[in-house]
């Protein structure tokens, strides 16, 4: 008996003439964790969206449970037993966790047909317990952290009791502990004989959790195989079509004067007594678990949130930064972690997004200089390898990783003296990640002071000159590069203070 639960054959998808998929084959068995691998814009999300009924293919067949099917809408796909956690947030921030989990498949009271909230709440609680999540079912989703939202999405997928669970970059917002949770859940799903489609740009994760893989490149099927039978290099070769020499640049930039000094910075309820110094040409890594308060510290320095107490000095002078505009005047730039919410304006095109941060530089007196706008976009867009059909393409229509690149381009274009990057390589493919790392070192070499907030240990270890680890709103340890290793960093991050 053939236990192939899903087979997609010759799938083609065009978006108004842009070829996203050109005849892709994909099959998955029950009890299998199947990694879907490819560069940004390779077509991974498009393929799973077709499976989830979000898009209709222009050609190709889908055989599900040995029957030829068409998923004309997300509802049909869900009812058939496919549940998807999409790359883009699909939650309703104003609704509670329970409401979000049961939206679209509410439980009704058999006798009177009314919604039975009690039962749904109990089930939600049970799901949350199963995932060991400390969240109340009545909490509004907008009050959850990014990681918690993802876990709620996982809970939602579980509540559907699906045969196939799709996870499109589920780990990009999670750190070690949550990822471990997620692995546990995935293994559990596997033991229940479900099929899991797992998309990630982190190869360590893929090797850890997946059994089988399929590689896409530029919308084409490249190959498939068992994870146990390939090496990382072979996969990378398939993904980018060439060998990749990715060594962390590890430059010893000459560190100059102290450019930023933060003293006893406190924001009640978020972080306390944060002190550190940043020098010209230094890459200062900030590591910690999600919720450690790193993002909040950076947002406070950048003037987005108000501080309770503490002092910030730039070039030795005490400053009071009340809003981002002032921060930018001091030469600061902050690349936020959530590209959809904080980073891009989806309805604007690439050009307009990239230049919005330097709007003063591209305007003469009051008027925009369209030529300069295009030139600057081209310069940074190419440097950072944004893949799009034109600079006029709406950011909304870019693949997830390319949206992230637009955000990077936009902030690097401001030519800051102090650059704060919050998870800059989140959702970015291997090849581009190497490019981004090279760009970061290049900027450091030019004397720009860089704060690198990242939850990726290899990135922190590979890039930083100095490393600060935070735990629950406080700095636990500071390391110089030669003293740091993954072990002592993780220990510090989970709260055991080292001497």
């Amino acid at each position: 008996m053939n236990n192939c639960i899903l087979e997609m054959k010759g799938i083609r998808k065009y978006f108004y003439g842009v070829k996203a998929l050109e005849g892709v084959d994909f099959k998955i068995k029950t009890g299998e964790v199947h990694a879907l691998i490819g560069e940004n814009g390779a077509g991974k999300s498009t393929l799973v969206k077709i499976l989830a009924g979000v898009y209709q293919p222009n050609a190709g067949t889908i055989i599900f449970n040995h029957k030829s099917v068409q998923f004309l809408s997300p509802q049909i796909s869900q009812q058939a037993g496919i549940s998807a956690i999409h790359q883009e947030a699909t939650m309703f921030p104003e609704l509670s966790v329970t409401e979000n989990i049961f939206i679209g498949h509410h439980i009704r009271n058999k006798s009177n047909g009314l919604l039975s909230w009690k039962e749904m709440k109990d089930k939600t609680q049970a799901l949350l317990n199963r995932l060991e999540l400390d969240i109340h079912p009545d909490t509004k989703v907008k009050n959850l952290s990014v990681a918690q939202r993802h876990m709620v999405e996982v809970a939602k997928a579980l509540s559907l009791n699906a045969k196939i669970v799709i996870m499109d970059e589920p780990t990009s917002a999670l750190t070690i502990k949550e990822v471990e949770y997620l692995y546990k859940i995935i293994r559990k799903l596997k033991s229940e004989n479900k099929a899991v489609i797992f998309i990630s740009h982190k190869f360590e994760e893929i090797f850890e959790i997946a059994d089988y893989f399929t590689v896409l490149r530029d919308g084409k099927y490249i190959g498939e195989g068992k994870m146990a039978e390939v090496t990382m290099d072979e996969i990378i070769q398939m993904v980018i079509g060439r060998n990749l020499e990715h060594r962390y640049p590890q430059i010893e930039a000459e560190q100059g004067n102290t450019i930023l000094k933060v003293k006893n910075l406190t924001r009640i309820g978020f972080f306390k007594d944060i002190s550190f110094e940043l020098h010209q040409g230094e890459i200062l890594g900030f590591f910690g678990l999600v919720g450690a308060g790193r993002t909040e510290v950076m947002q406070t320095i950048f003037g987005i949130e108000a501080l309770t107490s503490g002092e910030v000095f730039i070039n030795g002078k005490k400053v009071n930064i009340a809003n981002p505009a002032e921060a930018m005047n001091y030469g600061l730039a902050y690349i936020p972690e959530d590209r959809q919410l904080q980073g891009t304006i989806l309805k604007m095109n690439i050009k307009e997004n990239v230049t919005l941060s330097i709007i003063n530089k591209i305007s003469r007196h009051f008027f925009l200089d369209k030529e300069k706008e295009l030139k600057i976009t081209e310069q940074y867009g190419k440097q950072i390898e944004i893949k799009a059909s034109s600079w006029q393409q709406l950011v909304e229509d870019l693949s997830g990783g390319n949206q992230q690149k637009v955000v990077l381009a936009k902030w690097i274009a401001t030519k800051p003296r102090i650059l704060i990057m919050d998870e800059p390589t989140k959702g970015i493919d291997v090849a581009t990640k190497a490019t981004v790392h090279n760009i970061i070192s290049e900027l450091a070499k030019q004397g720009i002071a860089i704060i690198l907030v990242s939850s990726e240990l290899p990135e922190i270890l590979g890039m930083s000159n100095n490393i600060i680890v935070m735990h629950e709103g406080a700095i636990t340890t500071k390391f110089t590069r030669d003293k740091a290793n993954s072990e002592n960093i993780i220990k510090a991050a989970i709260g055991s203070i080292l001497s």
């Binding site: 505009a325 919410l341 904080q342 304006i345 989806l346 307009e352 009051f366 229509d397």
Partner: protein
């Protein structure tokens, strides 16, 4: 957001030509130059105020008080003219713009500083401004013979066959076309409407942009108030009631996204013109006045649907044609 009319606007333009053609089959006099000028005159004020409305909708807001601000300004300058006929006309015009700016800035302050949602704010000020019209006119109205001739005749007075009214509307169109698509502040307005968090992160002052949009819209509306009472040679307490919805309709028909972030001046100009044609033609082909309102609504909805469908198709065509200009 481009200066040049986009494909979408072009298609809408063709659609309008088509409508005109169909109407003129039934009513050949519709194509008369005179009638045509009438339509332009009739839609001039709507076009101006709809452009103000566009600016606000793009930021993600809405102004329901434009009809009341228009009436209040109109009544104020009409009374001024009645009681102090010696005041020169250009002073009157400046005063109308000033009053409009003031009324608009009140909306702007409430929305940007007091953080009251735009619908609530402008629903409130709509009542207040309308109430003030009653207060200052004490229930009476200013009629044609109480206005000076210069005042009354201003909108009609023409140069090279183009009335002052049309001329002013053209001026507003060109000014705001440039403002919204070619200037830094214009770009910031779209940014704020598209994603206010992202806009804030790049250092755009949200409060300033919101305040500015309401205030500028107020200025246009004030000018429109003077033009309105002068053109109809009457200032009443009910002047322009319901006009706020026409301005919103002109925006929506013209392809402005009601959730903010997108919309063009050209689109709104066409939208207003389309609404003008619909109103005018229904009277001309003798549709019963009882039916007119319902039919107007129906046609506007129809136009919106067509427009939405066309927009989807255009994006397809555009994407197909676009390629890197390396």
């Amino acid at each position: 957001m481009l200066v040049l009319p986009q494909k979408r606007e072009f298609n809408f333009f063709i659609f309008i030509i088509l409508i005109i053609f169909i109407i003129s089959l039934r009513t050949p006099s519709f194509l008369d130059l005179n009638n045509f000028m009438d339509i332009l005159n009739d839609t001039a004020i709507l076009t101006m105020v709809a452009i103000g409305q566009l600016m606000i909708i793009v930021t993600g807001g809405i102004d329901l008080s434009v009809d009341a601000s228009l009436a209040l300004t109109g009544m104020s300058v009409a009374l001024l003219n009645q009681h102090y006929p010696e005041i020169p006309l250009f002073i009157i015009i400046l005063i109308s713009i000033t009053i409009g700016l003031l009324l608009g800035s009140i909306n702007g302050l409430l929305v940007s500083q007091a953080k009251i949602p735009p619908v609530i704010t402008t629903l409130g000020t709509m009542s207040i401004y309308r109430g003030l019209v009653f207060v200052i006119c004490k229930g009476t109205w200013v009629s044609a013979h109480e206005m000076t001739e210069a005042f009354r005749e201003f909108p009609r007075r023409s140069f090279l066959g183009i009335s002052n009214l049309i001329f002013i509307a053209l001026l507003i169109i060109v000014l705001f076309l440039i403002f919204l698509s070619l200037t830094k502040t214009g770009r910031e307005i779209y940014g704020v409407g598209g994603n206010k968090t992202a806009a804030q992160y790049v250092g755009i002052n949200l409060n300033k942009i919101n305040y500015l949009a309401y205030t500028l819209c107020g200025g246009i509306t004030g000018l429109a108030g003077f033009l309105w009472v002068a053109r109809y040679a009457a200032a009443q307490s009910e002047t322009a009631i319901g006009f706020n919805f026409q301005t919103i309709a002109a925006c929506v028909v013209g392809g402005v996204s009601i959730t903010g972030g997108s919309g063009t001046v050209i689109g709104v100009v066409l939208g207003a013109f389309f609404i003008g044609i619909v109103y005018d033609s229904l009277t001309m082909i003798n549709v019963s006045p009882f039916w007119q309102m319902a039919i107007q609504g129906f046609i506007i909805l129809f136009a919106i649907i067509i427009n939405t469908i066309m927009d989807k198709r255009n994006q397809q065509l555009l994407l197909r044609k676009r390629s890197f200009n390396e």
